[in-house]
């Protein structure tokens, strides 16, 4: 991305830190119990099977212990009784932009969604708090049988397909936060692409949290039938609040034989949000699943996009970046499970720590017995902007088959003062030089993004680094 283009964009920094007056048609009381779970299901007019699924999940949530690994001290600060589990901003869903209530529209205007759609988007599902308020999909995809809707609608309108796959990739008993999501989920996207259909343009959704102490528990299910192809993009920005919020999403992807799914996320939750997300995909024979995952905001992120390669020749690619600034922990990584012969996976992780932030790459490469000819390549690079920042690499490798090939490379290093000097000797300020180096560092990730996301990401990084320079966290003085 050309820098002057970025500069000329007139970054409105306040856009990441604004909030609307709260307006609701329904807001549950704080905390969670079985009655609230029932109430959520009733409010949504759900069928009994979903209500039962929620209640069963809630009971699992109650019993499941918190994870005992990772940044446990941070996790233990979550007060499940101090969170709203369901907020419904408006009563009716609308399909045309003109019908979206003004205050919500303002929010999206500031995020640039309408322009985005005008340009090239096939469809938008924008989640404002818990309910999807705006949804559209270009008719050309609808005529080919592509379903792109919010999850609540999908439960009502496509019960046979939802019931069959919902919770099969990430079952409620997978972990405490998956159980919580299964009990109180609201919103999220549902995508079904029929056999042999290629959706050429990315499908896209935006998410925002606006209510203080409000949890966001969206649930996404993507099914690409045999030979189908789809790229889904999810963007998240949230306004700042002083007390903690919880984001515990579940994303399930099923790529049938020969299908291709790419899931791209750039998330920039405000820095008091717990971002605890379970993302998992099943890839059947010759299918390919790609996770492109960028984590900038949040107080604590724990997210390890996973691909289970269940059929011969399945492929996985997980490309992620994490940026941790002051008070932030980005515990992110990837999991690949090779459960069939000749499956291949590639993991590329880039992390940036500054102003005493901490990044952790946590990864699992598992090759099951019988998965002959499988290959994995993992590459992790950590960049530290100043002396106080921290980075850890925790790779787990579990190999149960001999005829496989594995490659792993990991580097961690402080930003090169010689590179900075070189760039500054050409007239770049220290901040410009830092931004240039960091954007170069994440270039392999940025290249995988649509242009608008690349621009937004570069801008966010520029903003973060400005703080690092201004607060004097860096010791070397030019």
């Amino acid at each position: 991305m050309a820098r002057e283009e970025i500069k000329n964009m007139k970054i409105d920094f306040s856009k990441y830190d604004f909030k609307d007056p709260e307006k609701y048609s329904y807001k549950s009381s704080k905390g969670i119990n079985e009655d609230i779970v029932r109430k959520i299901s009733e409010m949504k007019n759900e069928p009994d099977w979903m209500k039962e699924f929620r209640i069963k999940s809630y009971r699992i949530f109650e019993k499941k212990p918190m994870p005992t690994w990772g940044e446990k001290w941070l996790l233990d600060q979550i007060d499940f009784n101090d969170i709203y589990y369901y907020v419904k901003p408006t009563d009716t869903k609308v399909r045309s932009w003109d019908e979206v209530p003004e205050y919500i529209k303002n929010t999206f205007d500031r995020l640039g969604i309408p322009e985005a759609e005008r340009k090239y988007l096939a469809g938008i599902t924008a989640q404002y708090e818990s309910e999807v308020v705006y949804h559209s999909i270009k008719s050309q995809w609808e005529s080919k049988g592509v379903i792109f809707t919010d999850m609540d609608t999908a439960v009502r309108e496509y019960p046979e397909i939802v019931k069959r796959y919902f919770g099969t990739v990430v079952p409620p008993n997978d972990n405490k936060f998956a159980a919580l999501n299964s009990a109180v989920w609201s919103g999220g996207s549902f995508i079904y692409v029929p056999k042999g259909v290629t959706v050429e343009i990315p499908l896209q959704a935006y998410f925002r949290i606006n209510t203080q102490n409000m949890g966001q528990f969206e649930r996404t299910l993507i099914i690409a039938d045999e030979g189908a192809s789809v790229h889904y993009i999810e963007g998240c920005t949230a306004p700042m609040y002083s007390s903690n919020s919880l984001h515990a999403a579940v994303v399930e992807i099923i790529a049938f034989k020969g299908a291709y799914v790419r899931y791209t996320t750039i998330q920039n939750w405000s820095k008091n949000i717990y971002n605890l997300v379970t993302k998992r995909a099943f890839a059947y024979e010759e299918a390919k699943v790609e996770w492109v995952d960028g984590n900038l905001g949040s107080k604590l992120t724990m997210k390890y996009p996973a691909v289970y390669m269940l059929g011969k020749g399945a492929q996985a690619e997980i490309l992620s970046i994490a940026l941790a600034g002051a008070g932030q922990v980005q515990d992110a990584g990837a999991k690949v499970i090779h459960a069939a012969p000749y499956t291949t996976s590639k993991i590329t992780n880039k992390s940036i720590s500054l102003s005493s932030g901490k990044t952790i790459y946590r990864g699992l490469v598992k090759i099951m017995k019988g998965s002959v000819g499988s290959k994995n390549h993992t590459s992790c690079n950590a960049l530290l902007i100043d002396e106080e920042s921290v980075s850890d690499t925790i790779p787990h490798i579990d190999i149960n088959e001999d005829k496989v090939s594995l490659g792993h490379e990991a580097t961690a290093g402080r930003i090169s003062e010689e590179q900075l000097f070189y760039l500054m000797s050409r007239g770049l300020t220290e901040h410009e030089a830092l931004v240039t180096i960091v954007n170069g560092f994440i270039e392999p990730f940025v290249k995988a993004l649509p242009l608008e996301y690349a621009v937004e990401l570069n801008r966010l990084i520029e903003l973060e680094l400005e703080d690092a320079v201004d607060t004097g966290a860096r010791k070397v003085k030019y």
Binding site: F421, L423, M424, R426, G427, L428, E430, T436, G440
Partner: protein
């Protein structure tokens, strides 16, 4: 009259070791000065200190550029005011597009120098770069590469000179630009330099060998030994060093080694 570039009794150290031990030099507008010296004499330290590399500490003396001390100026301010260092070893910066970097640098220095500067459109700028690249026998493939990444020795030196041509400095420090260049590449690089050279800009050409000074003819040649300029002469001094090495100078100045 205030001199253009003046180094006064400069002392600088790295990691507590004194490298420059009282170096003085005066360069007027339009002049080319060659600085020769054996390995370890402090040539690269000198070029880095002029550019403000924070690795080095200035412990005495001063550097004046157009009458002002530059010691308290940041590296980028020195660049913006018109000082350019062609590095002996330029840094690779992975993932940073060569073209975007050139544009960024070009816009940075020019918006500092000219209040009415309007950044050129991408295509205009591309054409500007292409015209400079032609002088250096560089082809379009550079547009698609990352900054210095995987560049051969000769490509790096050309890339440095290309940056010089674009940034239009008034004072150019060349640090061993001839090292690692074959004779054809050296001719190309020198041609680029001489094309750029005029009565407004000055050059300090730091080198171990005299051969670059055959193509970039110096008005003065200085010999640097152990962090000081110990002898100054005209271009014939370079020839004598090529023929006889540095030992005779050491004897002549009876510099205690």
């Amino acid at each position: 009259m205030e001199s253009f570039f003046r180094v006064v009794n400069l002392k600088a150290s790295i990691d507590g070791n004194l490298i420059l031990k009282g170096l003085s030099l005066e360069v007027n507008r339009g002049e080319i000065h060659g600085i020769m010296g054996p390995n370890g004499s402090g040539k690269t330290t000198f070029s880095n200190v002029i550019m403000g590399n924070p690795k080095y500490e200035v412990v005495g003396g001063d550097i004046l550029f157009k009458g002002e001390s530059i010691l308290d100026m940041s590296t980028d301010e020195r660049a913006k005011r018109g000082i350019f260092l062609a590095f002996q070893y330029s840094e690779e910066v992975p993932g940073v597009s060569f073209m975007n970097f050139l544009r960024l640098a070009y816009n940075s220095v020019n918006s500092y120098r000219y209040s009415d500067f309007v950044p050129p459109k991408p295509l205009e700028f591309r054409n500007l770069v292409k015209s400079k690249m032609a002088l250096l026998d560089m082809d379009d493939s550079f547009f698609n590469r990352y900054l210095n990444e995987g560049f051969s020795g000769g490509e790096r030196k050309r890339a440095e000179i290309l940056q010089m041509l674009l940034l239009d400095p008034e004072l150019v420090i060349m640090d061993e630009t001839d090292s690692g260049l074959d004779i054809d590449a050296l001719k190309v690089v020198s041609r680029g330099v001489m094309e750029f050279k005029n009565e407004r800009n000055s050059f300090v050409v730091i080198t171990h060998y005299s051969r670059i000074l055959k193509y970039i003819k110096p008005d003065f040649v200085h010999v640097m030994i152990d962090g000081r300029i110990v002898k100054t002469g005209d271009h014939t001094l370079a020839d004598r060093i090529e023929d006889n090495g540095y030992d005779w100078i050491l004897k002549e100045v009876s510099y205690g080694v």
